[in-house]
């Protein structure tokens, strides 16, 4: 049973109307979070887990605003129209909406690229109450390379199932042309690709002064070097490795209980 209520909300960002859902505890709260969704196909895969996380946070006494960036989900526009600067602005607009709607101090929780954008926004917004970063993209170049890998592997598997040799997988996956990268069916143009390539959460080192939880999700108990370095770089950073299947990689029902429980436990301590 969810001890919370949910209502639709709309708010402006750069003159366009974004749509989201506010999850509110039944009892009055002074704490809220804005959820920042991941990028492209990862958003779709993680949707259910993000909803479950929002409900769990609300049950623990935190109001949550989930919303879709411009060009994504229920919000207006086409994916290709917008870039990372637009989406950082959307997060700022969502912060203001959440503060207005819940009268609370508002933190940010993000997954993958959503976590990265949350961390970048917080660098200029010390009023952000706290940060929860689930598997943030620390190195944009590496992220692009990994997505290209995924495309190559998919092309290889498709070629194999269709009776092809599989040897042209790399060429097929990279053949989007005009500097465009295929992110699991989402066309990422050259400008966006350049913005992604510039992402580096460790350089310059973060200066956000409030509590930060950096969560690594994976098979092992180790944080991974990059995420540990990121957690260590924050003055109030906490690192937490959670044994959890990657909730952003696969469409379908995934049990996100481990990462949700770890997050709620940390939130209760704030």
């Amino acid at each position: 049973m969810t001890a919370a209520q949910e209502r639709l909300v709309s708010f402006e960002s750069a003159g366009e109307l974004l749509h989201g859902v506010i999850h509110e505890p039944l009892e009055e709260t002074q704490q809220a979070l804005v959820f920042c969704h991941p990028f492209a196909e990862e958003k779709k895969c993680a949707h259910r887990s993000m909803v479950e996380a929002a409900r769990a946070c609300a049950a623990a006494g935190w109001a949550v605003l989930r919303f879709d960036n411009r060009g994504c989900g229920d919000s207006p526009g086409c994916f290709e129209q917008y870039d990372l600067n637009d989406w950082r602005l959307d997060i700022e607009s969502a912060l203001e909406c959440a503060a207005r709607e819940t009268s609370s101090a508002v933190g940010l929780l993000g997954l993958r690229l959503g976590a990265t954008l949350a961390a970048e926004v917080a660098e200029d917004r010390p009023d952000v109450a706290c940060l929860v970063l689930w598997e943030p993209i620390v190195d944009g170049e590496r992220y692009i390379k990994q997505n290209l890998r995924r495309s190559i592997i998919k092309a290889m598997m498709t070629s194999h199932e269709g009776g092809g040799s599989g040897t042209t997988a790399a060429h097929t996956a990279g053949a989007s042309g005009e500097g465009t990268v295929d992110f699991d069916g989402y066309s990422v143009g050259e400008a966006m690709r350049e913005q992604l390539a510039e992402v580096n959460l460790l350089e310059p080192p973060p200066v956000y002064p409030r509590p930060v939880l950096v969560v690594a999700l994976g098979a092992g108990e180790a944080m991974g070097e990059q995420l540990q370095r990121l957690a260590d770089a924050y003055t109030m950073g906490t690192a937490r490795a959670v044994r959890q299947e990657p909730i952003w990689q696969r469409i379908g029902v995934m049990d996100a209980t481990p990462v949700i429980s770890a997050t709620v436990e940390w939130l209760r301590q704030q």
């Binding site: 990994q146 290209l148 890998r149 995924r150 190559i152 592997i153 998919k154 290889m156 598997m157 194999h160 040799s165 599989g166 040897t167 997988a169 790399a170 990279g174 994976g218 098979a219 092992g220 299947e245 990689q249 696969r250």
Partner: protein
Amino acid sequence: MSDQQLKQQIKEMIVERLFLDADPQQMADDENLMENYEIDSVNLFEIVVGLEEQFDISFEDEDFSVDLFATVNSLAEYVETKRS
């Protein structure tokens, strides 16, 4: 590291990263991974990342082929080649 140790490490990595309900000790070196463990493209990506991290190697785009990922034997052979 001996050939058998390498293969055992690969099996353990696969079971751990793919959250498989399998005993690495019981995996045969030559069994078909994709058929026996229903490995899909998401799993293959995890295997690639696991091999790179654990054995400090780097896949090139042109290295990717279904044959490479067919068995523990073929993965071990690839790792050996990259490390030499």
